[in-house]
């Protein structure tokens, strides 16, 4: 059975995929649905959802449209999730591949370097980096990438170490292929499956990390994000629950969708490790 068919048989993964597609659609259509800035004060503060047709999800403490905030926040969350994951893959994959393939001293040095990042609590490190660089889209992406590449490096290193003694890699050595070429054409293509699975889960944790930073007020001050919305509404949680709850729900659903898709990919790409469903 092909990977695609296995993925399609996994109901959880399909639900996740549908949620994710909806979210991406919202993010793409966002500017045309709500062309004005989500920071604009458009109505009375503390309006409950459905109280007024113009604001189906209500307004926040300052009278900003929550629906507009969610739509614009989706763009930011997805953008940061994707870009920071790509950046951390760009750090982690080469480090892991070199360490795993070269072994010896190179492996020791690269892995001690990786462990240096792993020993620092990641959220604390992210806060410090954002605080030093000043909160902005770029600094947040950099912070998230820096704290999330070490697991990638370890994963890729393990995969590469087990692949490098495979006979087809030895065969590539014996025909005279150069080391970079062997890593790129023989070894790395065979590590794609676990990297894809890990990547999808990393997008989810990047979104969580960004939300946490925004919640603490370390988000990009020019961007409306879900984390910021939760943080801004938290003092009025009892009388105006929707201000924090709705963006919180958005974060929850997004992360859930990504995890479901990640798990579906895992089962589809590693059929031998899949839990028995027959």
């Amino acid at each position: 059975m092909s990977g695609l068919a296995r993925f399609a048989r996994n109901r959880g993964a399909l639900i996740g995929l549908v949620l994710l597609v909806l979210l991406i659609a919202v993010a793409l259509l966002g500017p045309s649905l709500y062309p004005t800035s989500p920071w604009r004060l458009v109505g009375r503060p503390f309006m409950a959802p459905f109280a007024m047709d113009r604001f189906p999800l209500g307004t926040d403490t300052l009278g900003r449209d929550i629906a507009a905030g969610l739509v614009h926040g989706a763009r930011v969350s997805l953008l940061i999730g994707l870009v920071s994951t790509l950046v951390s893959l760009m750090i982690g994959v080469p480090v892991g591949a070199l360490a795993g393939y070269l072994g010896g001293v190179a492996d020791d040095l690269l892995m001690r370097f990786t462990e240096f990042f792993q020993t620092i609590p990641s959220f604390a490190l992210a806060i410090v980096i954002v605080a030093i660089l000043q909160p902005s889209l770029t600094s947040i992406v950099i912070a998230i990438a820096i704290v999330s590449w070490p697991p990638v490096a370890r994963l890729v290193r393990g995969e590469v170490m087990s692949l490098r003694s495979r006979e087809y890699v030895l065969a590539a050595v014996t025909v005279g292929q150069s080391t970079p070429r062997i890593i790129l054409t023989q070894v790395l293509p065979n590590t794609v499956a676990p990297i894809v699975v890990m990547g999808s889960l990393m997008v989810a944790s990047a979104i969580l990390l960004e939300s946490s930073l925004s919640f603490l007020g370390l988000g990009d001050p020019n961007l409306m994000t879900w984390g910021y919305m939760v943080g801004a509404g938290r003092t009025r949680l009892l009388d105006a629950w929707w201000i924090s709850f709705l963006p919180g729900l958005a974060i929850f659903l997004t992360v859930l969708a990504l995890n479901l898709v990640g798990e579906g990919l895992n089962d589809a790409l590693n059929p031998r490790l899949a839990r028995g469903r027959d």
């Binding site: 495979r166 590539a172 014996t174 005279g176």
Partner: protein, 539 residues
């Protein structure tokens, strides 16, 4: 048969829908009497293991019995519930598996693993169980059973572990012992000992033995009766002598004919020429890599020297751990030798830097053992073969065209170039591996256990192919193998390796007729089936 221990009647096992045939086995009838050894022989995919697993109720998910019965002591095992079946396992049927390295729990002491069998059936007290374990270890011929009982599996060799498995399987004195390829992973000398042990225990206890194997040598060594399976069908069954000396079915005849004979064919004298590959005093020591500790090294290869002329095949034979594969890898510098020189023609391969060596790599190529691990699963076959020439600077279109020529040289259609490795069988993949090695027009070919993972009939074809290309291209071949039968057939000369050193080297015929070294004699004596199989007439 009145005293039949196991009767399998009309057994049909259905495979899941997406399998390549509807039934794993169909309509199998077999009986085994007390104290009798029945060998089920067949090539991979013949369904021989499924039969054994059906008796134990260990069929993989998706495979289910469709009809027939398996009667053991008057009960139909296929109709038993899980609890009743658990009681049968161990008490009435014992089983040994192929892989001694993984069939014992690495975290449990040997005695506890044997005692588990008693525990599972609620027999004896703890002290008695351990005592019985030691007795059993003694019975399977382990030296110092009290010490071994306290050992963990990693402290034992493969042969010793297999003895422990046998002790555990026989703990409750079962009427039937199922042995699923129990010696396939072992060296020949160990294999011979295990086979003798199984045979002795069967005599002493009157246990019936159901022995699954692909190796006719082993069959000739141990079987009373033989059942031959082909594609899930029982094609022939009968007394061992009858089947071996006068096979009735065509398939049995083909299988027997494919078993390489231990008698080397006559070879023409060859004129001595300049060696294509010259290995001089190559030594490789593996040092343990510790943070601060400098441990003593293991001498994997100890001052090995040999020459191979153009068009000649030198066999490097020995048991696992003898260093024969390391020698092969040193020749290609996949492993860096610590001392000594390797010359390909006039070029000293060992003197070059890795970069300087790269353009010369084409002169010596390798065929690997595992046809499933030696081809990159994500590349098309044509590309796999063309990669070498491309790395050496041949234009891509030209290299791919040559790849198609090579595919037909090794007996595959040119269309194979557009397909992925998983679409091919083991033998076909090995042909692709040979084509890849030939793509660079090498002078020397190192074949490391190149036919060991293949069924005998495929093995014969690949050996034929190697001889054929050697004749056409004048290759020097270093043929590394543990299988003396194969070596007898393909090698002009043979070097016997033991613990990293060559103990004896000579022309194949002379070496087989008059082995000079003790170890060579031991190896030859341990070849299963001895010369009993050598006399079988070709079909």
């Amino acid at each position: 048969m009145a005293d039949a221990v196991l009767e399998i009647r009309n057994l049909t096992l259905a495979l899941p829908a997406q399998a390549d045939r509807p039934h794993a086995v169909s309509g199998i009838d077999l009986t085994i009497g007390a104290g009798e050894t029945l060998c089920i022989v067949g090539e991979s995919g013949s369904g021989k293991s499924m039969c054994a697993h059906a008796v134990m109720g260990l069929l993989p998910k998706g495979v289910r019995p469709e009809s027939g019965e398996i009667r053991l002591g008057g009960r139909d095992l296929l109709k038993l519930g899980p609890a009743a079946l658990r009681d049968v396992r161990g008490r009435e049927v014992g089983m040994i598996f192929q892989e001694p390295m993984t069939s014992l729990n690495p975290l449990m002491r040997v005695a506890d693993q044997i005692a588990e069998t008693f525990e599972a059936h609620g027999l004896l007290s703890r002290a008695e169980r351990l005592e019985r374990a030691v007795t059993l270890l003694d019975e399977v011929g382990l030296p110092d059973p009290a010490r071994i009982a306290r050992a963990y599996p990693h402290e034992l060799s493969g042969g010793q572990r297999q003895r422990v498995m046998i002790a555990a399987a026989l703990a409750l004195g079962p009427k039937l012992l199922i042995a699923d390829e129990p010696t396939t992973a072992l060296d020949v000398t160990t294999q011979a000992q295990i086979l003798r042990l199984i045979d002795r225990l069967r005599h002493d206890h009157g246990t019936a033995v159901l022995f699954i194997t692909h190796d006719f040598g082993v069959v000739a060594e141990i079987a009373d009766r033989i059942a031959v399976l082909q594609q899930g069908l029982l094609v022939e069954e009968g007394a061992a002598d009858a089947v071996l000396s006068a096979p009735r079915h065509d398939y049995t005849r083909r299988l027997l004919a494919a078993v390489p004979s231990l008698v080397p064919p006559r070879r023409p004298e060859r004129a001595a020429g300049a060696p294509a590959l010259a290995v001089q005093a190559v030594t490789k020591v593996y040092k343990p890599r510790g943070f601060l500790v400098k441990g003593r090294g293991v001498k994997a290869v100890d001052s090995v020297s040999f020459d191979i002329a153009r068009g000649e095949t030198l066999g490097l034979v020995g048991e696992s751990g003898s260093g024969k594969s390391t020698v092969g890898r040193c020749c290609l510098r996949l492993v860096e030798p610590d001392e000594g020189t390797v010359r390909v023609g006039e070029l000293a391969v060992t003197g070059l830097s890795v970069r300087a060596l790269r353009p010369h790599r084409r002169r010596i190529q390798m065929v690997f053992q595992d046809p499933f691990a030696s081809l990159n699963p994500r590349r098309k076959v044509g590309r796999i073969i063309a990669e070498g020439p491309i790395a050496q600077g041949v234009p891509r279109a030209k290299a791919e065209e040559r790849a198609r020529d090579l595919l037909s040289l090794v007996g595959l259609s040119a269309g194979a170039a557009e397909r992925y490795p998983h679409e091919f069988s083991g033998g076909q993949r090995q042909r692709i591996g040979i084509a890849r090695a030939l793509a660079l027009d090498p002078e020397v070919l190192v074949a490391d256990e190149a036919v060991s993972a293949l069924d005998v009939s495929v093995q014969a074809q690949i050996l034929e192919l190697l001889k054929d290309v050697q004749g056409k291209l004048g290759l020097a071949i270093l043929f590394i193998t543990h299988d003396l039968r194969v070596a007898a057939q393909i090698c002009d000369r043979i070097a016997v390796m033991q613990r990293g050193a060559i103990v004896e080297m000579g022309p194949t015929e002379a070496l087989f007729a008059n082995p000079a070294h003790d170890y060579t004699r031991q190896l030859l004596a341990a070849v299963p089936g001895g010369r009993r199989l050598a006399s079988i007439p070709a079909p």
